[in-house]
Symmetry: C2
Subunit: 252 residues, 2 copies
DNA sequence: GCGAAACGAACATACTCAGTGTTTGAATGA
DNA sequence: TCATTCAAACACTGAGTATGTTCGTTTCGC
């Protein structure tokens, strides 16, 4: 069991019980207690948990978005397939606004090197795209959320408002026919709205775990999405409802 | 002779003769030709030179700013000392605009972790600063120059205009009492002006090789600089002239 | 206050990966 | 055509990281 698997184990136990013990993890993973302690210390510095004597307790509150370091390890393969499909929807020479988040970062990796103009809403996205001379990167301003490295606030919205895009690629935390597109917090909602306002078309990229989910920040009714790209794990009836709202649903 | 020294050697020869040979470099550096080829390939991908059969020719035109990959290896120690002094001038809680460039990047490293609000004008600066939870990062929007990773254009200027700073930390390519503060290109000039316009005080950070130099883009007369931080390698008479213009000159 | 458990600093070991050199066959240009 | 240059493939090396072990210190329950 390697480092990544150990982290998965810690997360799983925290999700079940809300707390874990060092000895218990050492036993289960087959590693020394010292190594487990080092794992837990790292996760604490990433804000995932809080160390207590003998183990650790969960810090991720229910219903809130898990931290970036955890999300980036979830459904990686599905996200890459979705990202490839989204990138294929972007014509050469197009201008697009690219949301923050793990799925959007994969889209950035796919787009890097293609002759398009991109406004990424995250520093990681900007970094990936700026390495290529072919791609024009027009980074949005804004306040950087620590840990997440995404951009929000009035500066971000002003940057988006100053440009017109062919396509907005938005990630979302929840998407259901009844409750529309939702995000985890309000600053993100404002940014997503600004992206959509400045773009002719909106493409939503969401892995199937997001379908049917409803989170706190309401962005818009599903009907405002032009195209949804998701993986094939979503229940067919939920997708049918979304299609009925006029969305072009693509599964990969 | 390690990798960094070999690159220096390549640059030196290119500066003298405009071209270098693989065999010649292998001889001079004491390394195999294969290693030299790999060095040259890397430098080609960084835009420093163009490979030709048997060697390489220079791509950096006279009078233009050398690429970032070269500048970052020049006067490293002086830049770090200057950066530490500049950071010391920034009071806790202050808001500052931070220029792009290698010296400013060192300032960012010094500032990371301190409770200040920073608007960096480069992606690297943003990256360094955003890692710390203590520091508020308000990244400027704008177009990213490939290779350089700095931000310019109307979006950057608009971001700067939307905020008021206590201090602007500007790097410069040239600084002389007679010809004022100069930069290498016009988009940079506009950004530096916008930084200064939005800030109460301007601190210029420039290693001594920049003192007395004049480059193409005129930014402002030296008198508009409040404080200049430089290393002790600058000629005293040049510094005296700058002081006479009302600049508080600090040497480290 | 006492003792057991947990902790973390320090050192030793194992592993990974980037950088380098050598070989060899293909590509290039005089 | 032929010598030179190139680049792919493989082996070697050293730096840096991850892990385990030891041991003295800290913490908590009693």
């Amino acid at each position: 069991m390697d480092s990544a698997e150990r982290v998965d184990l810690v997360i799983a136990r925290l999700k079940e019980a809300g707390e874990v013990g060092v000895a218990e993890l050492a036993e289960a993973s087959g590693h020394s207690e010292m190594t487990i302690r080092r794992d837990l210390d790292r996760l604490e510095s990433q804000g995932v948990l809080r160390r207590v004597r003998g183990g650790a307790v969960s810090l991720v509150p229910r219903g809130q978005e898990p931290p970036y370091v955890l999300r980036e390890r979830q459904a990686v393969e599905a996200k890459q397939r979705i990202a490839a499909r989204v990138a294929a929807l972007v014509p050469t020479g197009a201008a697009l606004a690219l949301d923050s988040g793990t799925t959007a970062l994969e889209v950035a990796r796919e787009l890097a090197g293609r002759p398009v103009t991109v406004m990424p809403l995250s520093l990681q996205g900007a970094d990936v795209l700026a390495r290529s001379a072919e791609t024009t990167v027009l980074v949005a301003g804004g306040e950087v959320r620590p840990g997440e490295l995404n951009l929000h606030g009035p500066l971000a919205e002003a940057s988006l408002a100053a440009v017109r895009f062919d396509v907005a690629v938005v990630g979302c935390c929840g998407l259901s026919a009844g409750d529309g597109v939702t995000a985890h917090d309000l600053p993100d909602v404002a940014v997503k709205r600004a992206m959509m306002r400045s773009s002719q078309r909106t493409v939503a990229a969401a892995d199937s775990t997001k379908i049917g989910l409803v989170t706190m920040g309401y962005v818009c009714p599903v009907g405002e999405i032009d195209t949804l790209v998701t993986d094939d794990g979503a229940p067919e009836d939920a997708l049918a409802e979304i299609r009925a709202a006029g969305v072009d649903v693509v599964t990969v």
